[in-house]
Symmetry: C2
Subunit: 232 residues, 2 copies
């Protein structure tokens, strides 16, 4: 499993996994990603900055070439999945990822506000325009369980992920609650200690889709799930 943090101007992946080590050069001359405690290979711009608090003040063309480098110049080795974390919206970074990486599909993350739905709809329409496969929609911050009284609070309005997924004609993968534990573990670099059944459901759904793709391959149909970057 690998994670490429393509959110160059708001990179969060290194921090939530507690990574501070710098990536090293691999024997092939490429960059070796940093391993998390559970063995996930991570590459993020924040791992190579001298000061993680310094901004990258780059115009689009540089953003694009850096994202391509984070993919092609990194020795990802053998992976089952490579997850590319994108900033919200339809800006340069997602555009580059959709255009220049051999992507197998897009997972869309929404939140309950209609405002978020509108922006997610834009992103889905962008992915459709570029013929990217939409693997499904996850609703984040769906509801909060009050730690004092145990009742459910619709912090950002009524959950509507399922409805939105139907409107957009893509599979609904699950609802993730607002959970103060996620914030705490992220801040302490211990996100791998978090578990919730919804993530298992999402992972199972995606695994099923992946194996369907593998079956298509065996039947001689076009393969959409090739993970390893080809040598450039």
């Amino acid at each position: 499993m690998g994670i490429l943090d393509a959110d160059l101007t708001g990179p969060s992946i290194a921090k939530v996994f507690g990574l501070k080590e710098r990536p090293s050069k691999s024997p092939t001359g490429r960059i070796t990603p940093v391993l998390t405690r559970t063995g996930i290979k991570v590459m993020s711009i924040n791992l190579v900055l001298d000061d993680p608090e310094m901004p990258v003040i780059w115009r689009g063309p540089i953003v694009n070439s850096v994202i391509r480098q984070l993919y092609w110049d990194v020795d990802w080795g053998s992976l089952h999945y490579l997850l590319v974390d994108l900033p919200p919206g339809t800006s340069d970074a997602p555009l580059t990822v959709l255009q220049s990486l051999p992507l197998d599909g897009v997972i869309v993350v929404s939140s309950p506000q209609e405002l978020a739905s509108m922006i997610v709809t834009k992103a889905v329409n962008m992915a459709k325009k570029m013929n990217a496969e939409l693997l499904g929609l996850v609703e984040n911050m769906s509801y909060l369980t009050c730690p004092h009284c145990g009742k459910s609070i619709n912090v950002f309005g009524e959950p509507q992920g399922e409805k939105l997924a139907k409107q957009l004609d893509i599979p609904f993968l699950g609802s993730v609650p607002v959970d103060p534990t996620i914030a705490r573990l992220s801040d302490h670099g211990q996100i791998e200690d978090y578990s919730a059944s919804v993530f298992q459901t999402v992972a199972d759904e995606l695994r099923i889709r992946a194996s369907q793709h593998a079956q298509q391959l065996m039947q001689g149909l076009p393969i959409a799930w090739s993970i390893q970057p080809s040598e450039s």
Copy 2:
């Protein structure tokens, strides 16, 4: 009062004010902004798109020229304040705004997570590098009051806006709670119906700073608060 929505890939301003009308051409040939119910002049890319759900799939250079157009080609008329709403991070849009608009200052919005602090710190460092005046920091989503039991929940961790502002050496303007009412009113285009004392405090703070700038002007010092775009 005017609002320029410079978040081209996630434009939310038109929606939260319930605006659907298209901006018209002014007699001068420039574009007349759309008025909200309380008389705020709004300009957003979503007001000129045929379908607000279609994405703008533009590379940085176009993003930049569109932001400049939303400022210079719009007949803002006489304004006390023009608020420019920016996407998070240090991408092309904030860079363009800092470089090409006659900005008087930057208000930074954080949330309690250390993760957000890191990204906000990057943005503040970008603004400092570009010699923009930092008017202060507002902490958003600081806490939530449970609508069932009335107790306070630190949804995203301990509030730390005041501490963060001190670290960054900028004024702390106030803490905005997570409030389901904000989500509901935004989704219904009625954000102007929302009031909370913290916004009054923030507005008062900013007004004081503005009048200090005006005093500097009267003393012959360089003015930092000129609102009206000069004729281009």
